[in-house]
Structure formats: C-alpha cells, structure tokens
Symmetry: C2
Subunit: 664 residues, 2 copies
C-alpha cells in the first residue's frame, strides 16, 4: 500500500500548534534564553558548578520571569500556567539551573505562598522572588521518602515561650536530598509532626531559619552534604538535622491549620489524613513542572539524535554506491521516530495539564471543587510518571543512537541523561505514583457504584464479563463483535477504541482480583500486594488514554482554527502531518501492549501482525519530516551546539525509499 | 497452587557453581582486589581521575595478573580464559581502571600478540605487559565506527626508504574515542588502508609511535582530547591525526600479510574481505571481555539494590502494624528478581563463551577450524549485545529501586550506570552486531541448503510452512499439535521448546521476507532495510536460546557432580534453587515475547495469561533467597561499601506471604 506523501508544513505553522496555549510565553522565554546562552563546563567540580548555578540564578531573577508566577499582591502576575511552561523550557539548557530554580521558586516559594498566609507572604515572598532569601523544601527524610505522612521530624509547641521546637529524633529522620541545603539555603520549609502536649494532629509545615546572612549555619542545625550525585551537581543537595531549634509560633505556615498562643489547635479540615493530602495537593505544581522538564529534555535529546542521524553516514548502499545516512535505516527510524511521536503526544498532554492547573490555581479563578482538584492530582501523578520514564528511555536511546559521539559531554546527551535520571523517583516515585493513581481510580469506581450510575458502569461490567469469558475459554474472537471495536486496524476510530477499552478492562481486571480483599478473614495487604502489577497496568492504561485524548483534541483544534480561517498560522498540512504523528504514537502504544490485546481477544493474531508493517510504514513516511518535527520544538540553537553536528550537510532525503518499504 | 519451599544452599556451595570453570582465578582475583580496595573519588576532575587510574594500573601490574593471558614465550601463562574472567571482575570495582587495563593489555597488547609476529613480540610485549609501554588501539575513526573496513587513514609504502607513511586525509578520518591517546599512550596500533603504488590490499595494522619517553607528542602526530565523557573519565580518550608520519617497514603487524622490502605484497589469505575479517576475528577477546564486564557490573548493581530493598521499609502494613521492607512488595520483586535470574543465566553463558574462546585461542590448543572460529564470533557478537543491554537496563532499574539514595555517588550506582553506558555501542554497536549475527545465521542456513542436508532444513521449513499458514488464516491452534510443544506451560521441556521454536521460526520469517531481494530488478538494499527489524528479532531469539542452553547445561553439570559425589562442594539444594532461578529467567523471556507466541499460535490466550501468575509466584518463592543469590557472586565487600546500606538490619523474611500470593 502506498499512501499519498505527507506535504511539509512550514516550521512556524507547526511550532505555533506545538507551542499551544502559552505560545507567547514560550517565545519570550526563547528570546530571554537565547540572549544569555547559559552553559556550564562539564568538567566542573561540584563546588565550581554550584557557584556557577548560583550566578545563573541571578540572570533568571533579572529576567523577571520568576515573578510572573506569584500573586499580584506580591508583585507577580499570577500567571501560574505561564511560569510552569517557561520553567520547563530551562530543561533545554542547564538542568541544575532548572532544579535550583524549581527548589527556590516552585517548592520553597510555592509552599510559602500556598501553605502560608499574609504574614508570611508580606514578610518573605518578595525576597524569595528576588533570590535574596534562598530556601529549601524540607519534606523527604532519609527513612521516609514515599510515605511522607509518617515522617519523624517533630515540631513541639512550647506554650511558655510561644515557640515551636524542631527536632530530629534519630538519623533516619534527617531531611535528605534537600536542594539548597548544603550550601546556599538560609531558610527551609520544614515538614514535621506537630506536637501540642498530648495532641498530635499530623504533619505541618514550618519556616525554619538555617543560616545567618553570612551563610553561617545557625545553632542546633546540622548540615551535611549529599556529595557528588549522578547528575544535577550544580544543585547543593544536603541533609538537615535539627536539635532543639526554636522558632516563633508565627512560623507555622497556617493556611490550613493554626495554633493559638495558648496552644489551641484549629483547622478548616477536621480529618488528619484529609488535611495532609489537601496540603500536599496544593503542591501539585512541582509534579507538573517535573513532567514538563522531562518532556523538554526528551525533545532536546531527540533533536540532537535526529540531526546526527541525518548527517551521519555508515555503510555503502550497493545500489547507489554511496554511504547511507543512518536515519535512512529502518532500525534507526524505529528507535527514534516512535519516541518522537510520543514526545508530541506528551507535549499536548502537558499543555492540557498546565491549563487545568491554571484554571484551578491562578488568582481570580473560581475556587475549584474537590473533584476537579482530585482529578488534577491524579492526572499529574500519572503523567509525571509516564513523562519521566519516557524521558529516561528516550534519552538513553538517543545516546546510543549517536554511538561514541553520544558519550562525549561536548555533545550534550550525557548531561541530559544524568541530570534527568532522578526525575523518575523524585517529586514522587513513579511506581508509587501509579499505584496512587490506580487506587484513586478504584475509589472513583466505588463512588460511581454508590451513586448507582448505570451509565458509568454498565459498559465496564459488560465488557468485563465478556473479557472474563474470553480468559476462561479462549474464544477470543467472540469479543470482536463488540460495537465500535470490530473495525479495520488502520482505522483511527478503532485504535482510539482500543486504547479506551484497555483503560476500562484493565481497571475491571484489577477490581476483580482485589475483590477477595473485601472478604473477611483475608489479609488485605497480601491481596493488594499480589495485585500490584495489575494496578500498575490499569494506571498505565489510564494515562495512555489521557495522552491519546490530548493529542486527538489538539488535532481537532488545529482543524477548527483552519476552518475558521483564523490567523493562527495553521494550515491543512500541519493537520495532515500531525495526524501521521498521532497514528505513529497510538500504534506504538498498541504495539507495546499487543500481548494484552491478544490475550483478551481484542486483536486477532492476524490483526496484531499488521502492526509491525504499519509502524514501519509510518516511520518511512515521517522520516523526511523528522528534522522539521524537532525544529518545531523551537529549542534555542545555542543550546543545541554539539561538535558532532559540525559535519557535512545532511543528504537530501530520497523519495522512493518510502514506496519500496510500504510495498513490502 | 503451593509448592514446596525451596531450601537454601550454603553460599559457598552456590558460589562454587556460579564461579564455574575459572573458580580458582576468581578466588585469587577476589583476594588481590580485597587487598587493595581501589576506589576513586567521584568528585575528581578528569585530570585527577586519569592520574589516579594510571597509578592503579601499576597495582595491577604488580599483581602479575596481566601476564597470565600472554603466551609463555613472553613470560605469560597462556591462560586466555582465566585472564578474561579476572579482567571482567574489575567491573566490581572501578570501571575506568577496567577499561584502561582492557585498552592496554587486551586491545593494544592483544593486537601486537595476535596480529604481530616474533619481531614484535620480542621487542614490545614484555614492556607492554609491565605497563612500561602504554599504547592505543586506533581503529575507529570519527567518520567510521561500525564500518571499519572502509576507514580512511592511509599507510603508503615508500620503497626508497622502506617505510610506511601514515596519513589522515581529512578530519573525518581522525582516529577517535581512542583510549590512552589523550595523555598516556606512547605507541598505537593504527589500522589503515595499505597503499603500495597502485595496489590497495585493504586495512592492515601498524605500530606507530605517538610520544617520546618524556611524553612529548612526536612530529606529525596531532592529539586532541575527547574531553569529559558520560563516564569512564579515568580513561584518557582522544583523537589522533597523522601527517606524513614515517614508520619502518617492520612496524607492519605481519601475521596475516607482509610487504617485502621491494614492495611485494603477500598474504596467506587471498581475498581482501576475508583477510580483514580474519584479522578482526582474532580480536574477539575484546568483545567477550566487554560482555563479562557488563555482567559483573549488573551483578554489583543487583547486589546493592537487593540489600537496600531488604533493609529499606516504607508504608505500614495494616495487618501487622509494621513498615514493610520494600523487597516484600511484589512490584519491587518484579523489578529486581527477573533481572537477577537473567544475570545468573548470563553468568553461565559467559563462562561457556570464555571456555570456547580458550579452547580456540590458548597456546597449545589444536588450530581451530573456520567453522568453530566463525561460531565463536557469532556467539560473542550476540552475547555482547544482549549482556550489555541487560546491564544498561538492570543498572537503571536498580538505581530507580534505590530512589534518591541510588542517585548519590556514595552509593555506587551512578558510576556503574555512567561507566557502563558506552558498552552498548563500543566494541561493536549492539544493533550492528545483532544484524551481523543475523546475516551469519542466514549464511549458515544457505550453506546447509547447499549441502542438501535434509535433517537441518526439513523441520525448519515444515514449521515455517505451518507458521505462514497460521499468519494467513489465523488458525493458530493447529500449530499446537507440533510434537514437543503441546505440553503444559509449567513444564520445563515445553518452555525450552518454546525458546527453540522461536529461534527457528523468527529466522524462517526473516528468510521469507528477504526472498524478494534475490529476485532480479528488486533493490536489494531496500528489501534488506525493510526487514531489519525481523533480522534483529531473529538474532535476539538466537541468543535467547543460547543463553537458555548454557543455564540448562550448568544445572545438568551440578546434578552430575552431585551424583558422582565429587568434592565440588555442590549439593541438591543448589540444584533446586538454580532450577527456580532458571524457571524465572526462561519465563521472563517468554513473558517479554508473549505477543509473538500469541501471534504465531504457539501460545493460546489462556496459556499466555498464566505467565503473569507464574512469574509472580517465582518472585515470591525466590524473595527469601535474593540476598543469598547475590552473595554468591562473591563481590569483595570493600566494593559494596555504600552508606545507604548502613541502616538497621533487614527484617526476617516472613513465611506465609508466599502462600497467599501463590494461592491467588
């Protein structure tokens, strides 16, 4: 089968669509970044690198960008979505700088803003925004990373002096991996178990000074350096231990709960666990920012590897007598192009996620309902996990696709790999996040049942019964009679249906396996534990469907703006190209999961075997557009300067190769 | 289903089996290493690290170990297998030291030994062995990495002076990524196109001096530093360019070909390509050593992650009220234990591979036939690819399984990751190696056809026809009637048959897709290119079957030595445990490839769905033995010293959990 070749849109038209809602912020950020071209020396010692990052932070302050995310009351613009978008673009440059900025303004500044009240905002936010007061976000402890509700640091109220006393009861309770702690931080938002006499109302956040204006560590505070890390060595991560450190009562960040002078505790949220998760929920911005940074890093790696793949030639084609560009090899295309398609999908997903956050968190917006907030947190958890794993795998692949050149720091891939590696386990370990998401999905399911909503459940249960039958009898073909699924695999609607079906069925399977946990006498933990892999599968399938939906909607928006004839700079060829990219992304997902589709009878063996040639065909079709697709990310050229790309100009892409492969 | 718990053997008995043929060398190496405990500072600049490695190299010289691999004629022991085994164990310690040693004695010294003759051996080998003459192996060029037959450096014979003139015609022909080049190397084995007047008999190897005794670079030689790399920064990689560098005629390494004083060229191998690949083939030791180093690195990562997983507790089990060790979570087990099982499989595979090399290369052995040599090269290529990808993926998983702690250099995982990352693309890019293997398998198939050997082909073609039919009609269940396949999946024989079937069928599928290339008028390159993914699949399936065979044979040997009542220190519980590890490895492979088994009708949907619970069950069964299984690698404790392991003692493993999961 030979399809009509896809015409190439202009890079500007494509970039406009890729840039999405915060296109203006992206352009401004590109311009700001292009002007400074901040690049660190890869042979820096940790100390040299930290000093460099601290200087670079001042450049960011001067740009005025960090202000824009804060409330207008403290001189900001309240552009929550814009600042997260701009922040993620720092991943095109130096990732230590990104993380240092994230710690300072996102985590530390963000916690003061959302967990604190006017007394904290007035006193600290301006100097935080201006980078005069550098601070830490001290939540994780050596012994408690994922399970932060049970951390061990204590804040004991002393009514006599109206102070809290902060203590680290044992070495496992040291705050660990804390950015800004080892060298620069003068204050920390410390999460600790609040103790008021016999009352222990759970984890709260406190402002604790760490160093004086000269940088000398204050009495009772013990700082140790986490030392050299796999990457991000421009960030001064360290451990903090407290011994009888006294802070005024006013240093409790009291947006959700307060302690009166006499020790009376009050909170707008009665349940301790609910309160804790509400506090955590307001910090969702960090997780979303990490997903964005991971996305940008993967885009940069793909841009480098695709440029190299167009230029690098290896082995002579006996038909032409010329050496072949490595990106003309099918296996090379299969390494890079499906990953590129998924990067597109995640770009649109991230834009949607940021927009949802903006609608909830930006000042002046109506207060979000618990449901919207919860769904935002769920999506953020799932997308963070999938986006960071995508980055880790993609950057690894790009490194390998550039061979020895990809191993040299001068060619930028090593730092991308090393610096982003921790993204999969910080701001929530990915595996834990997906489990949280799965449990939330189970709860939502439970709530739907309670409401007796037949619309929400009937299809799920119906398919579930069919699926159980298929599992038992192997009569898989029966299932294909389900309406909306029994179409040709080349059909976009069928593929969308396949992703949706998987989301529903994997959840149903997890529910069925968990059912025994509800029965008396069964060990609930053991049943949950034995079903953990099914929970992860359900969560993954849920995110896959979310991502597909964002990509699909982005294409619909493109069509609409084309049809309206608006001046958004889009055109039909943008849509045509994006549709092929969308196809490749969705088929890659189905390809990855095709064992599941076969096992559950959603695909026949014959259908499954058509996936490989379809993916190959799409790779060949998109090969001529690979460079354009990466150019549309709009990464400043100064941050793509790699000696491995200083070779001869790329060969012109030959027509004809596509036809041969498509015919095979 | 609840199976009898597996009894634990002693660590010594298990280690004896794991140590294999060169157990004595392993013990000696452990003792040598334990004495020195060489560990670099992770915050070294490249220059500091290089100086440290150079000093550490002297410790290796003093140990006498490098001597043992060379011929007795130059003071060695000819223990080719032993030295490769010992060398790979350096990966337990510092990988820069491993690579520096590999460059000096394996690549540089090895090339002088196997490509040179007495005049080179007598003059250079002793000082190479003693580390007095440090050297390079200068094959790869900036423009030619994988396709080294077409590199561009020239060695032009000047009859007047009886010299070769070495030249780098353009920047793309610079030797690149060359270890020992940037700082320490005084001589290089340079691969160059030989030119004698109009005659160009292909690539040959020449000894070219680079620096004088004071380390000053010689005239005509240009050295540039490759700079900081992702890892291995203790190795001084660099680029070499030559401009009219004259070397005496005797510096041609003339084992396979020579140039007489009058310029007459002679060689024992007439065909140029055959000669080049024969020369390359003698260097197979490097590839085998990389596979061994990768295996050891993965073992170390697993040892660290499993110790941490036993000790690290997170989240409270509501049934017990205690926090759960993370290795008691099923998802954590599924991350680490199948990888551990595969590490066992690869350990036995590597031991077999080294033994085969030893039988061919060690002095005093009968000269190997072309077939044995070719098969050794095939296996080495395939196993190198699979072992290094396993290491990359496993170390990544182990890093993530240790969370933030795994990101700190002090906990050793970051260096393991960064240093071994290049293993997948050096000593042959993995993707290229698997393609070479696949093409060799196709050639072998062609040779079998030519010989008219019905035994070799009939089964393959028979299954092939059946398979084609299944692909076309979807009547997959027919296939299960093939003898030896239609057994219960829990049956070991069935599983072995599944791996073997896949090896044969994937090759047959590749052959069928390549057939059009033989027809006139078709573009051979395009057809091959469009089938590249099928070739990779066939190569991968071939290696999977090789690995399974090595593991199975190792268990058989264990049984035999038990039955003979020899004093090999084995016992029945070793065998019992290894069988479960074998089961987990083989099931993991089938699990990974189950889409293929479903598509080709080798597994029904119902059968495929039993894989997940089987893998889960084996994980739970092996969980109590995880620590023992890693202890049996015998990694010197000094090289496992990580602060993250200085926590509380691990919880005792509870019986009972296994039963619950097995019952689910």
């Amino acid at each position: 089968m030979t399809r009509t070749p896809v015409p190439a849109p202009s890079v500007d038209a494509l970039r406009h669509v890729v840039d999405g809602r915060w296109a203006n912020v992206r352009d401004e950020t590109r311009e700001e970044m292009g002007r400074h071209g901040l690049s660190a020396d890869p042979d820096f010692t940790s100390e040299q690198y930290r000093a460099w990052v601290l200087e670079a932070l001042k450049v960011l302050v001067a740009s005025g960008r960090p202000h824009t995310g804060f409330d207008p009351s403290v001189g900001g613009k309240g552009d929550v979505g814009g600042v997260v978008t701009s922040f993620a673009m720092l991943a095109y440059g130096d990732l230590s700088l990104l993380v240092k900025a994230g710690v300072q303004w996102g985590l530390f500044g963000g916690a003061v803003q959302v967990l604190g009240t006017a007394r904290h905002h007035d006193r600290y936010l301006r100097s935080i925004i201006d980078g005069e007061l550098l601070g830490c976000f001290a939540m994780t402890e050596t012994g408690h990373g994922s399970d932060v509700q049970h951390l061990h640091t204590t804040a004991t109220y002393d009514r006599a002096t109206e102070e809290f006393v902060i203590d680290t009861p044992h070495p496992g309770a040291r705050k660990d991996y804390i950015g800004n702690a080892a060298r620069d931080g003068r204050m920390a938002v410390v999460f600790a178990q609040l103790v008021i006499g016999d009352q222990k109302p759970g984890v709260h956040a406190f402002l604790v000074p760490l160093r004086d204006e000269n940088g000398t560590v204050l009495p009772g505070v013990e700082v140790t350096d986490d030392g050299r890390k796999a990457g991000l060595n421009g960030v001064d991560n360290g451990r903090l231990a407290f011994s009888g450190v006294r802070i005024p009562r006013e240093n409790l960040l009291n947006h959700f709960a307060d302690v009166a002078a006499d020790g009376t505790y009050s909170s707008s949220i009665e349940n301790e666990t609910a309160r804790f998760f509400t506090m955590l929920g307001t910090l969702v911005r960090g997780r979303i920012s990490v997903a964005g940074g991971a996305g940008a890093a993967a885009q940069k790696a793909l841009t480098l590897a695709i440029r190299y793949g167009e230029q690098r030639r290896q082995f002579t084609n006996p038909s032409t007598g010329e050496e072949t560009a490595v990106l003309d090899y099918l296996v090379h295309q299969r390494k890079l192009l499906p990953a590129l398609a998924t990067s597109y999908a995640l770009q649109f997903t991230q834009d949607d996620l940021v927009a949802r956050m903006h609608e909830i968190q930006a000042p002046g917006k109506p207060k979000a309902g618990a449901r919207e907030q919860r769904q935002l947190e769920q999506s953020a958890a799932g997308i963070k996990a999938i986006a960071t794993w995508h980055a880790t795998a993609t950057i690894q692949t790009c490194r390998e696709a550039c061979g020895g050149a990809g191993y040299l720091e001068e060619n930028l891939l090593p730092a991308l790999k090393a610096d982003t590696d921790v993204f999969t386990t910080f701001e929530g370990d990915n595996t834990v996040l997906l489990q949280l998401l799965a449990k939330e999905l189970l709860s939502d399911y439970g709530r739907t049942i309670k409401k007796g909503n037949p619309l929400g459940i009937a299809p799920l249960l119906g398919r579930q019964l069919a699926s159980v039958g298929a599992e038992r009898t192997g009569l898989a073909s029966l299932l294909r009679r389900i309406p909306g699924v029994a179409l040709d695999l080349g059909d976009r609607k069928r593929r969308t249906a396949l992703l949706r079906t998987r989301r529903e069925d994997t959840l149903a399977t997890a529910i069925r396996h968990l059912a025994p946990a509800m029965r008396k006498g069964n060990d609930e933990f053991a049943v949950f534990n034995a079903s953990q892999d099914l929970l992860l599968t359900a969560a993954r399938a849920h995110v896959d469907a979310l991502v597909e939906e964002s990509f699909r909607n982005a294409i619909v928006r493109t069509t609409e703006s084309s049809e309206r004839g608006t001046s958004m700079g889009t055109d039909a060829s943008v849509k045509g190209l994006l549709e092929r990219v969308y196809d490749l992304h969705v088929l890659s997902v189905i390809d990855r999961e095709r064992a599941w589709y076969l096992e559950t009878g959603r695909l026949t063996a014959a259908e499954s075997q058509t996936i490989r040639p379809l993916v190959n065909e799409l790779c060949v079709e998109l090969r001529p557009h690979a460079r354009l697709l990466t150019d549309a990310f709009g990464i400043p050229e100064g941050w793509l300067s790699a000696p491995m790309l200083d070779g001869p100009a790329p060969l012109p892409v030959e027509a004809g190769v596509a036809d041969v492969v498509a015919a095979g």
